[in-house]
Symmetry: C2
Subunit: 195 residues, 2 copies
């Protein structure tokens, strides 16, 4: 009931993501959106009630994308270290192929004003941390991950490392291969986690 989305709505989201990718979330205005689609500005409101609904749809897109990466590993029964490695690899691949997601991550401050938006951001992040914590705890029980450290701390560290690395990538104007150098970081983290 929530995923029913018309073609036009999808187009609006796609163009929104393109705008965000090109010049940041600040450039996502109704005017730019309409111009890019080849629309009158007013036509947008035939498809979304207001701009907040568009932003919520964007966050939904983000949520669906990252959530899937986590739940894929959550429902696997490989070695926890491998699952965490795959978490990194799939994230880096996703960010490489869909750079708009990177802009969305770091736009959270803009969502702070609207309660509905900031709630959604918090929700996504808490969910991801919870998934990661579950994976880690599981690995600790099976002796695949060192046991002398609280799982929630590890989750904070791992997610924080991932984000910081992506931040460095975006700050360098995407001047290196996220997937390749990310692999090295992923190995480093594996080394730290091993018992």
């Amino acid at each position: 009931m929530s995923t029913e989305i018309t073609e036009r709505q999808q187009e609006i989201i796609n163009v929104s993501l393109a705008l965000i990718t090109e010049s940041g979330i600040q450039s996502l205005t109704i005017k730019n959106l309409a111009k890019r689609i080849g629309f009158a500005e007013s036509a947008i409101y035939r498809h979304y009630e207001n701009k907040i609904q568009i932003l919520l749809a964007i966050l939904d897109f983000f949520k669906r994308n990252t959530e899937q990466l986590f739940s894929n590993q959550l429902n696997s029964n490989e070695n926890a270290l491998v699952r965490i490695e795959k978490l990194f690899v799939t994230h880096f691949r996703k960010f490489t192929n869909t750079p708009s997601l990177v802009a969305v991550i770091f736009s959270e401050e803009i969502f702070r004003n609207e309660k509905e938006l900031s709630t959604k951001v918090a929700e996504i992040m808490n969910l991801n941390i919870a998934s990661l914590t579950t994976i880690i705890k599981d690995g600790q029980q099976k002796g695949e991950i060192r046991n002398d450290i609280e799982a929630s701390h590890l989750a904070t560290m791992i997610l924080g490392s991932l984000r910081m690395f992506v931040k460095q990538w975006s700050m360098s104007n995407y001047s290196f291969s996220l997937e390749k150098k990310g692999n090295e970081l992923s190995n480093t983290i594996k080394t730290l986690l091993v018992p």
Copy 2:
């Protein structure tokens, strides 16, 4: 020549920080600023050429604050693990006492449009990572930090962890003691780094 700042300019920065703390960087407008000071809007321009200069001054404030925390540890000759621990502790104390710094951290996307601003943000972050990397390398040479991991990766991880933790704090509406719970995280990281 850059640090000469008048009383009024300092007041403008202080009020800016207060506004940012209360309702995010979005609420930092000339109108709000003037109202809070008890000013006409036009009076602002007697003290700052334009809004970008105000934002630059805010970033400068941020830079001075964090830079000092890093360089304090850079110039110490304690055990590297202790230096890193102190880095955490001093950061958490600073953020607790000056919450506006937290809002500034996560406002980077807003600075993306203006080149001068985004450059400054990148500059600050690169400097901090460089300082941290130096501390880690030093510790590795002295055998205080495990040697099987690249120092720059560790720096990314440590800074990423710190930021993610502060993010969780701010997302929880500052509902826990950053200093107290941060101590635990800091210990976790020490455990990971020890050879």
